[in-house]
């Protein structure tokens, strides 16, 4: 089986490109970090890739709105090419700032074709402060996301100042009705966060942490699965290791975020 080719976007303050590439490589893909200006100068290169990722970061320092200026750069230069990319049997993922970029491009939730119509927004956290903390996520049954196949729960960090999911009432209703909510913030036992801080770290409507498009090939999420690829990345790994040792159980090496990337690779298997 040929390794799927992953485009990991970089430039202008994107800063999770290296660890995102590592996650895909470890999952079995061939991932390449590409500067957006190199795509603008040769847009046809998009056809070489099966998966495109907008990694986390601080593109343009969040100036004019998080993810907005980078989305504008794409909108002003590469909109047709990205539309064509999505039109093929490809996968696309946006993490944190990448989710904000996809949102500002109208790629998710993508309720109506063609893409480009902005329908939702990631607003300032209700705490009005950057939050870097680990959260629990519950996958939403029935959501079509390719990335979340077989995943019920996920323990990964968030790190953002603007991750507060907002949609106008009719859009929110449509997203829920079509089952596009992919992950919700939860308590550690898996029960809904119910908007309660810190379980829902930013005040997101309906505890929404991730949404997909209708095909399941596109996923946008605020939390960072690429930050739980190794077991020692967890905030509670020293406790879990101690527990495993005493129970005589093998201590894991990998983290549970890797499953998302393996799912993406398997899609092309």
């Amino acid at each position: 089986m040929a390794k799927p080719a992953v485009l990991v976007l970089t430039g202008y303050g994107i800063n999770c490109d290296e660890e995102t590439r590592y996650a895909f490589e470890r999952a079995g893909a061939a991932a390449r970090i590409v500067h957006i200006n190199d795509i603008i100068s040769s847009p046809s290169m998009l056809s070489e890739f099966q998966i495109a990722v907008f990694p986390g970061g601080f593109s343009y320092g969040d100036d004019t709105g998080s993810g907005k200026a980078l989305a504008d750069r794409i909108r002003n230069n590469l909109m047709d090419e990205f539309s064509a990319f999505i039109g093929r049997d490809t996968l696309m993922m946006g993490i944190c700032n990448g989710f904000q970029v996809m949102t500002n491009l109208g790629i998710v939730p993508g309720l109506e074709a063609p893409i480009g119509n902005v329908q939702i927004s990631l607003e300032s956290n209700t705490s009005a402060r950057y939050q870097c903390r680990w959260v629990d996520l519950a996958a939403v049954p029935g959501n079509p996301s390719v990335f979340l196949r077989g995943i019920d729960r996920l323990h990964v960090p968030v790190a953002h100042g603007e991750g507060n999911f907002y949609a106008p009432p009719e859009v929110l209703a449509a997203i829920e009705e079509k089952g596009l909510v992919a992950l919700r913030y939860a308590k550690s036992d898996g029960s809904p966060a119910g908007g309660e801080f810190p379980f829902n770290p930013n005040g997101s409507m309906n505890d929404i942490a991730a949404i997909s498009d209708q095909s399941g090939r596109i996923l946008g999420m605020m939390p960072h699965p690429e930050r739980n690829i190794l077991f020692t990345q967890r905030e509670d790994w020293t406790y879990l290791r101690e527990k495993a040792r005493r129970e005589g159980v093998r201590v894991p090496v990998e983290g549970e975020g890797l499953a998302l990337f393996r799912n993406a690779v398997s899609y092309f298997g």
């Binding site: 430039g11 660890e19 750069r73 927004s121 607003e123 939050q131 790190a159």
Partner: protein
């Protein structure tokens, strides 16, 4: 006043969370505020068609949640006052910069970078507010040194048609030529020249050169005898930068008493050289003291660098700008290390006055000169490090906060950066670099403005009313991130340059002259340097400290490729001259020679100072601390103290997970207790890690500066060991932040501390790899009643530790994990409470704030401690330890509480079992700050193996972990003395900063 063509105001159409958060903050500060609405405003001064204007405005406003007005003042339904905060002319406006780039991309044409786009923030405030209230709120929202403020009440706002469209353009009418400076003047005039700066034609002074008579004499002699002419202002300013305390560390280099070679060579460098000699084949230092950072071996293929800087004076004036500039500045010490290392972690340390103290201080006898309050300084500094680190994608796991009233005149802001670089690049050691004659001098990154002029000389002066406003800069992490990525990820691998250094203190004057040491000489054409705005004099271009710039030495045949690469990454890079082998530095401005100096004089002409020390009369100690009636209450009170309380609000707003290298994190356990050490794993496919920690005890300094330094080193070492570090692979960094350093008594304290730095680094085998000093942290101004007041920081030595962890799987957190685990204390406890946090609490509760209680400052027995640390290291390596914490401020009581709170488990502890306890009172056992001690919990099954490792050493099982969530401590006679629920401990621990 020029008016902008367009003013676009963007407002929220849904609940405004930023406004709501500000409302809540203002209410906490005591204002009657019922609603706050915030707008983002843009002045767009460009010729746009109606269609273009519409699309520009639409681009600036999220269509789902925002709307905009163009040339029509926005007004929410409810507001009483409108406040606008924008930048002063010439101050970096990052938002406007991005907005302009997006507009250019949309319009497919260039807009004037200097005059076309400006941003501001609007606040519409409703509530029961007077004009005075509104003005005060305005003061809360802006900083007069860098921003402009406009406060209008509703009728005024309506009548004036909003905030207006005046463009904040820079208007400078300086002479843009070089001036000759006459040095053949009377001695008092010459002295004044050094202190106040070069006189302009109108008689005003340009700001301190910070040159003393000794230096001025040497300069005058050089020009009289060697050059046979007067210097130009460019030359004099440049020499002042190069010779500044900040750059040349004149005090550390000075002859001190009988020490001809000075403190740095005698104590710091010599310690490193001796440790390296004694380690022999185990020496892991790669680059020490000579580059922008220090470097140690990570493994066979990689080198790790570290550097800790201070940014104190700028942070006092503009806490946000000072701190963010400090962070991006020290990041450049990583990018400028060797052939350019990649920043992989930031560290921080803040010394502030009590944030709840709102009593004013003034710089001069003028209401308007009020210093920002300690709270404002803290909030601004924290926000600055937040934005600096987060926006750059560099994790910030490790740091501390420390409070003392003596930081009220000047806070200390420490920022450090750890870097990673392949040991070899293109087959050559990556830490060696050499600018070659003929290489182009290339400046890459930001443009040059008047920002930060006299920063290097300013830091050599005490903070007073003459502090120059131009010393303030605001860093732009995104400009730097673009440059950093382009250099480290691309240009370095392509071999496009021979050498690289950063532009920090002294700007081009220092970076070019420094690199020219490698080649021999340089020639710079100053008019080629890209400027932010016109009107800069040549000397300003040469010494400006505008941020985000690196200087590179690029072979001429590669400079086209280098510049094209930078351009394709959105980074400006310009050839501004070339390196030569001439032994002279030459600068021209539009063809006219403005600087022509002998390189040897520039670098080595600074005469060595000669300083004397004098032993001060130490403070009087009150050895008998009144015994508390309720030890549990005392423990709860200790946990609330500023220097012990949790600061989770800082840890969670600094992204410590980016780059996915975080392994031991800033908060431990389900109780989320702040850790004193962090571990990162820089390469996911290697199990090796890097441990980071620090130690500082400013409260010991006046009592015993030698022991203060010894304790700082011991703590920095011990904290790293507790987390999983190895004594054999541990290096140190020293940051001295002293005060009043012309005073022989302060110099005596300095010498004592430096002597201890030598003794203990040698004893532990821990070399210094980098250091920085800041010698004048004094404030001279006025108190609340406008009486003169001087405040000096306590002599502050920060020792940072960095170590290589052989295998991150051996690392351990502080949280108790399982009930019935045994609790072990290693190390002896003595009655050592002088300067301790417990003594400070005692003096405050006795109503004698500032009085020094306690017996003596802890004495460090390095030989005994080293044995304990090696045993402890082995216990961790063998996986015998289930929780691990170092005893620091607050001693055993606080350490027990931290492990219990972190694990949300209780403990039963007997003080009678504590080694050394026999003679001591229980409160002393609990809170004495004796060094060398570690607290571990161990599974009963591992107890024998653990004890065996400590055979013959002080190590005792003092209790066990319990499930009921109560910390119970029995006194020496077995009587219960403390019984505190973990939830109560956590309440106290979290209360102090709960509102931040």
């Amino acid at each position: 006043m020029d008016e902008s063509r367009y003013r676009i105001e963007v407002y929220s159409t849904i609940a405004d969370h930023r406004g709501e958060a500000l409302r809540a903050r203002l209410v906490r500060l005591g204002y009657d505020v019922s609603a706050v609405t915030i707008t983002d405003n843009y002045l767009v001064n460009a010729d746009l068609s109606g269609e273009e204007l519409e699309s520009v405005a639409r681009m600036l406003a999220n269509p789902v949640t925002r709307a905009f007005t163009v040339n029509r003042p926005f007004a929410p339904e409810r507001f009483r006052y409108a406040i606008e905060v924008g930048f002063l002319p010439g101050v970096t406006d990052n938002l406007a910069h991005t907005a302009r780039e997006s507009m250019e991309d949309l319009l497919k044409r260039r807009l004037d970078p200097k005059t076309s786009v400006f941003s501001s923030t609007g606040y519409f405030i409703d509530g029961g507010l007077s004009r005075v209230d509104a003005e005060r709120i305005g003061m809360e929202l802006y900083n007069p040194l860098i921003q402009r403020l406009k406060v209008l009440d509703r009728p005024e706002y309506t009548t004036a048609g909003g905030m207006g469209r005046a463009l904040p353009l820079v208007r400078i009418h300086e002479r843009t030529v070089a001036d000759e400076v006459d040095l053949e003047i009377p001695e008092d005039e010459l002295r004044r020249l050094g202190r106040e700066g070069i006189p302009d034609s109108d008689g005003s002074r340009r700001g301190p050169l910070a040159l003393d008579m000794l230096s001025l004499d040497a300069i005058r002699r050089y020009f009289r005898e060697d050059e046979k002419r007067n210097p130009t202002d460019v030359e004099l300013e440049s020499i002042a930068q190069t010779w500044s305390e900040h750059c040349k560390h004149t005090i550390f280099a000075a002859r001190l008493d009988e020490l001809d070679d000075g403190i740095f060579r005698r104590f710091i460098r010599e310690a490193t050289m001796r440790v390296r000699r004694e380690k022999g084949a185990d020496d892991f230092c790669v680059s020490v003291f000579e580059d922008n950072s220090g470097g140690i071996e990570f493994d066979d293929d990689y080198v790790v660098s570290d550097k800790v800087e201070t940014h104190n004076s700028p942070s006092a004036l503009d806490p946000f700008g000072g701190a963010i500039t400090g962070v991006v500045g020290v990041n450049r010490d990583t990018i400028g290390f060797g052939m350019a290392a990649r920043p992989i972690a930031n560290r921080y340390g803040f010394c502030f006055a009590d944030p709840f103290d709102e009593t004013p201080l003034y710089r001069s006898k003028d209401e308007g000169s009020r210093l920002l309050s300690p709270r404002r300084i803290m909030e601004g500094v924290v926000q600055g490090v937040n934005v600096g680190g987060n926006c750059s994608g560099i994790p910030t796991p490790q740091g501390f906060v420390y409070f003392d009233d003596r930081y009220k005149g000047k806070p200390l802001v420490f920022v450090g950066t750890i870097g990673l670089i392949p040991a070899k690049i293109d087959g050559k050691p990556s830490t060696e670099k050499k600018a070659m004659p003929g290489d182009h001098i290339v400046m890459a990154g930001g443009r040059v403005g008047r920002d930060g002029i006299h920063g290097a000389t300013f830091s050599s002066e005490a903070l007073g009313s003459g502090s120059p406003a131009t010393a303030v800069q605001i860093g732009d992490p995104i400009t730097q991130k673009k440059m950093s990525d382009a250099i480290i990820k691309e240009a370095r691998e392509k071999g496009l340059y021979h050498s690289i250094t950063d532009n920090g203190a002294g700007g081009l004057s220092c970076s070019v002259a420094e690199m020219a040491r490698e080649a021999g000489g340089f020639e710079v054409e100053l008019e080629k340097v890209p400027l932010k705005y016109p009107g800069l004099a040549p000397w300003q271009i040469w010494v400006s400290e505008s941020q985000e710039r690196m200087t590179l030495s690029v072979p001429p045949e590669k400079s086209g490729e280098f510049i094209a690469l930078m351009e394709s990454r959105g980074v400006e890079a310009t050839v501004i001259g070339r390196f030569t082998g001439s032994k002279r530095g030459m600068v021209t401005y539009h063809g006219e020679k403005v600087f022509d100096l002998d390189m040897d004089f520039l670098h080595n002409g600074l005469p060595q100072k000669s300083l004397k020390t004098s032993r001060p009369t130490g403070p009087t100690l009150h050895p008998d601390i009144p015994a508390p009636s309720d030890l549990g209450g005392a423990l709860l009170d200790m946990l609330e103290r500023l220097n012990i309380a949790g600061f989770e609000f800082i840890s969670t707003q600094f992204d410590h997970e980016v780059q996915s290298n975080s392994t031991l994190k800033p908060l431990h356990g389900p109780g989320r207790v702040n850790a004193s050490a962090s571990v990162i794993r820089p390469l996911p496919d290697s199990v090796k890690g890097v441990v980071l920690s620090q130690g500082l005890y400013p409260s010991y300094s006046e009592i015993d500066p030698y022991r203060m330094a010894a304790c700082s080193i011991d703590t920095a070492v011990r904290n790293a060991i507790a987390a999983g570090g190895s004594l054999g692979r541990l290096a140190l960094l020293d940051n001295f932040c002293w005060c009043d350093s012309d005073n022989p008594e302060r110099l005596w304290q300095l010498r004592q501390a430096a002597q201890a730095c030598y003794d203990y680094a040698v004893a532990y085998g821990t070399p210094y790899i980098s250091g920085k000093d800041s010698m004048y942290n004094d404030f001279h101004g006025y108190d609340a009643n406008f009486n003169p007041v001087s405040i000096s920081v306590p002599p502050t030595l920060l020792i940072s530790s960095i170590g290589i962890v052989a295998d991150v799987w051996r690392c351990q957190t502080m949280d108790f994990k399982f009930e019935d685990d045994f609790i072990y204390l290693t190390g002896i406890t003595n009655d050592e409470t002088a300067g301790s946090e417990y003594a400070a609490m005692a003096s405050e509760s006795a109503g004698r704030r500032g009085a020094l209680y306690g017996s003596e400052v802890p004495r460090v027995d390095a030989a005994a401690n080293a044995r304990l640390y090696l045993a402890y290291e082995a216990a961790l390596a063998r996986g015998l330890v289930a929780s691990s914490v170092s005893l620091e401020r607050g001693g055993l009581g606080v350490a027990l509480a931290r492990s219990a709170m972190a694990g949300k488990l209780g403990a039963d502890v007997d003080l009678a079992l504590v080694p050394g306890a026999a003679e001591l009172r229980e409160d002393i056992i609990l809170f004495s700050e004796t060094q060398g001690r570690l607290l571990a919990s161990v599974a009963p099954a591992n107890a024998a193996a653990f004890e065996e490792l400590f055979a013959g050493m002080p190590c005792a099982r003092i209790g066990r972990v319990t499930r009921d969530g109560v910390l119970r401590i029995r006194g020496c006679d077995g009587a219960p003395m403390v019984s505190c629920g973990v939830d109560d401990l956590l309440d106290s621990y979290r209360k102090t900063f709960g509102d931040f």
